[in-house]
């Protein structure tokens, strides 16, 4: 399971998050709208997952493990956070 609620009360993204996880992430966020999303262990994320993050704008704890996500996607998410 690449998306789960951690013991610390965060939505954790670990390893490779495939497109199906998009729905999982969405459900978690609907259930706990204020929970922080920790993607430090995220090695890859399908667009569907990233899209959920863009639409939901949760608080994010990074940086993600993958350099591409950190270089290209994190800045975009950071920008949407402030809107």
């Amino acid at each position: 399971m690449t998306i789960k609620i951690s013991a610390a009360g965060q939505i954790e993204l670990t390893g490779i998050c495939s497109s199906e996880e998009g729905e999982v992430l969405l459900q978690h966020l609907l259930a706990s709208p204020n929970m922080m999303v920790n993607w430090r262990g995220c090695e890859a994320a399908h667009t569907a997952v990233i899209q959920v993050l863009m639409a939901a704008r949760p608080r994010l704890l990074g940086p993600p493990a993958d350099i591409f996500l950190e270089k290209w996607v994190q800045p975009v998410l950071a920008a949407t956070m402030h809107t």
Binding site: S19, G22, E23, L25, L26, L29, L30, P33, A44, H46, T47, A48, I50, Q51, V52, M54, A55, A56, F68, W72, V73, V76
Partner: protein
């Protein structure tokens, strides 16, 4: 299809041509007010037409382009290369829609957003000034909403772009509330800047589902002083150069001083105070030295060199269309007329046969008949020539597509190109003009892809940066000659030899015997292709052999002349007029032959037993008439195939008033072919009237029924 739509299609295509031509000229001469007007009016009329037939999508798409042109007309916006590209892209979309409408009779359902607007481009360039110098391609990608179901991951694809410099991801529509949000519907637009070439980016994005727009980005102006000079400022500065050219002794001081003051003001206005001071110095130098040169040099230096890739100059000669003297005629009517004329010829021949018979039988009327026959002969021949002449079109029809093609190749490959077209008012038969585009396109692509060197190589060889391609057409007696020349590196003979050897096109000994000209001709051999890698542009398995086949099919010839290091010329020699004949194919002894359709009355399947022999001859009774039967294999001297069937096939023919039956093994299909009369070695061959090349390159012998049945 109702007549409004028919008319709409014809007119829209004409205006698209007018607009395309105008846009290409405008790109080189942006101050051509008349041309800008004419292009604007073309788009305006296109929009109006779309409105009348209620083609809303087209109306909207054209409107966007019309806005750009309107802004250019009023001076609010300069018509940049990118904007011209947008307008051309809009026209492409319109042509696609027109094609669909023509083929299906219905308006296309998918409405692509024709975004004739470059605001996305400006936005991402502005947001990333640091990488601007390295940007060569900008791209905006909007994946289809259902792309996830296709197994696609757009962000992964785009972040993997070669030499990615900047990326922006935005939602297409505002995000709905989380409760209503469907995570599997893609709602993103991805905009990227890369240092990769447009072809690399295209290759990388191949197979995506969604819309992808790309722009080639020229380097930011190289000279630091000119960095950030808006186009109006550049216009004013070049105007001062022109002014200085008009200076005379009487007004010298005034011209120099005002031109200098203007240049200084423009620079100050654009916040280039230091440069302004330098120009001011050069004013003093010019005045004391009594020469415009110091000032002219100072201003000229501010205007950076012209943008690298695009230079498509067309010298299209030819008479303007005498519109009032032409009629629009449906091509099918002319084709029907040609067929009718063919039949008339056959009937005339039959009458001639009767006249001959009458003469032989000493009939009193023979003399009169013969006279009439001569008159008839002449009239029919004139009619045929006249009718064939109606099918003649100027080569402009096919050549006018090339400026656009060359422009796109130039952008796509980053090679500056200039195209010259000569003699495009030369006429040729419609069939020829129509088949020419593909072969010519292939030749031009080859020349640009392989013949013309990269800008670096050309510079190293002392060649002008802009490569030249020339297409020249002319009429010579009954032939139409078309030459495509380039000033590239010519055909690489060593490479041709190597490929020929490795692909088994020729043996080592054969290659040694061949002259350079023979080696060059090998590129037309079947199975030959020197493209090491099939680039996006040239070759999808269409080799030079396909070009040669296509040309020989219509009775023409094609050859190449190459000069190492200087370039190559491909020469087409095509017949001026071309007669299409309808034939039916038949099979005998395992070989295929063509039977002219106008000689065929019917085809029947009869029991073998019904054919009775009277000595060496055979006959059959058909509808109470005795019809002589001839076996095709037999009469052609081929080995008869013994077939064990009860029934056999007969082709009943009528020629010169005589009915006969041709026994064949099998009947094939009907074809429309271009008949090449027999010449050279084959001309004595009995029973054959001519040959034609089939689409797959095989030769079909067409039978002479009259000779066969005698």
């Amino acid at each position: 299809m109702n007549e409004f739509i028919t008319q709409f299609l014809i007119e829209s295509r004409e205006f698209v041509e007018q607009a395309t031509e105008g846009l290409l000229v405008l790109e080189q001469s942006p101050h051509d007010v008349e041309r800008l007007d004419s292009v604007f009016r073309a788009f305006h009329t296109l929009k109006g037409g779309a409105g009348i037939v209620e083609f809303t999508a087209m109306e909207q798409a054209v409107h966007a382009a019309e806005e750009i042109l309107s802004a250019a007309r009023s001076g609010k916006r300069a018509l940049t290369t990118a904007l011209v590209g947008d307008c051309l892209a809009c026209l492409d979309q319109v042509v696609q829609w027109l094609d669909i409408l023509e083929q299906t009779g219905e308006f296309p359902s998918s409405v692509a957003k024709a975004k004739a607007d470059e605001s996305w481009l400006a936005a991402i360039l502005e947001a990333n000034p640091g990488v601007r110098p390295r940007v060569t391609t900008a791209m905006q990608f909007i994946p289809d909403a259902d792309c996830f179901y296709q197994g696609e991951d757009p962000i992964a694809r785009v972040t993997a772009l070669p030499a990615l410099l900047a990326l922006d991801i935005q939602p297409v529509a505002a995000w709905p509330s989380l409760n209503d949000f469907d995570p599997y519907k893609c709602n993103l637009v991805l905009t990227a800047l890369t240092a990769a070439s447009m072809s690399e980016v295209t290759a990388h994005m191949h197979g995506h589902s969604g819309t992808c727009e790309m722009r080639a980005i020229g380097p930011a102006q190289s000279t630091p002083q000119a960095l950030g000079l808006p186009s109006q400022a550049r216009d004013i500065l070049s105007a001062q150069l022109v002014l200085l050219g008009h200076a005379t002794a009487a007004n010298f001081a005034g011209f120099v001083a005002s031109a200098g003051m203007t240049a200084v003001n423009v620079l100050r206005s654009c916040a280039h105070a230091e440069t302004a001071a330098l120009v001011e110095q050069s004013i003093g130098q010019s005045l004391t030295g009594n020469s415009t040169e110091p000032l002219r040099n100072a201003i000229a230096q501010l205007l950076s060199p012209s943008p690298p890739t695009l230079s498509v100059a067309t010298a299209v000669s030819g008479k303007p269309d005498a519109a009032a003297q032409t009629l629009r005629i449906d091509a099918r009517r002319v084709d029907a007329l040609v067929r009718l004329t063919g039949e008339l010829t056959v009937a005339k021949n039959a009458a001639g046969h009767v006249a001959k018979l009458a003469q032989e039988q000493g009939n009193a009327l023979a003399g009169v008949l013969k006279e009439r026959q001569v008159v008839l002969d002449r009239l029919v021949a004139e009619l045929q020539e006249s009718v064939l002449g109606m099918r003649v079109l100027p080569l402009r029809t096919v050549l006018q597509r090339f400026p656009r093609v060359v422009r796109e190749m130039s952008v796509s490959l980053g090679k500056p190109l200039a195209l010259e077209i000569e003699g495009d008012d030369t006429e040729a038969d419609k069939a020829i003009v129509e088949m020419l585009f593909e072969p010519l396109l292939h030749i031009v692509r080859n020349a640009v892809d392989h013949g013309i060197e990269s800008p670096g190589e050309r510079a190293a060889r002392g060649k002008p940066a802009t490569a030249k391609i020339r297409i020249r057409a002319a009429r010579q007696a009954d032939q139409v000659i078309i030459e495509i020349s380039d000033d590239g590196g010519g055909i690489d003979l060593a490479r041709v030899r190597e490929v020929a050897r490795t692909r088994g096109v020729a043996t080592e000994e054969e290659l040694r015997e061949m002259s350079d000209a023979d080696i060059v001709d090998l590129v037309f051999a079947a199975g030959f292709s020197t493209a090491a890698k099939v680039t996006e542009l040239s070759g999808r398995g269409v080799g030079m052999d396909a070009v040669r086949t296509a040309v020989e099919r219509i009775g023409g010839r094609v050859s190449i002349e190459s000069r190492a290091g200087l370039g190559a010329t491909v020469r087409f020699s095509l017949p001026f007029s071309v007669m299409m004949t309808q034939v039916m194919t038949v099979e005998a002894s395992g070989q295929m032959f063509g039977v002219p359709l106008d000689a065929i009355v019917e085809t029947v399947s009869v029991p073998r037993a019904a054919i009775s022999g009277i000595g060496a001859a055979h006959a059959i009774v058909l509808r109470n008439r005795t019809v002589p039967v001839v076996d095709l294999s037999n009469v052609l001297g081929l080995r008869e195939t013994m077939r064990d069937e009860t029934n056999t096939t007969l082709v009943i023919t009528a020629f010169a008033g005589q009915v006969g039956g041709l026994r064949v093994d099998r009947i094939g299909e009907r074809l429309e072919v271009i008949l090449k009369p027999l010449d050279g070695l084959l001309s004595g061959m009995p029973g054959i009237t001519g040959t034609t090349l089939l689409g797959d390159g095989r030769v079909l012998l067409v039978l002479d029924i009259g000779e066969l049945l005698q």
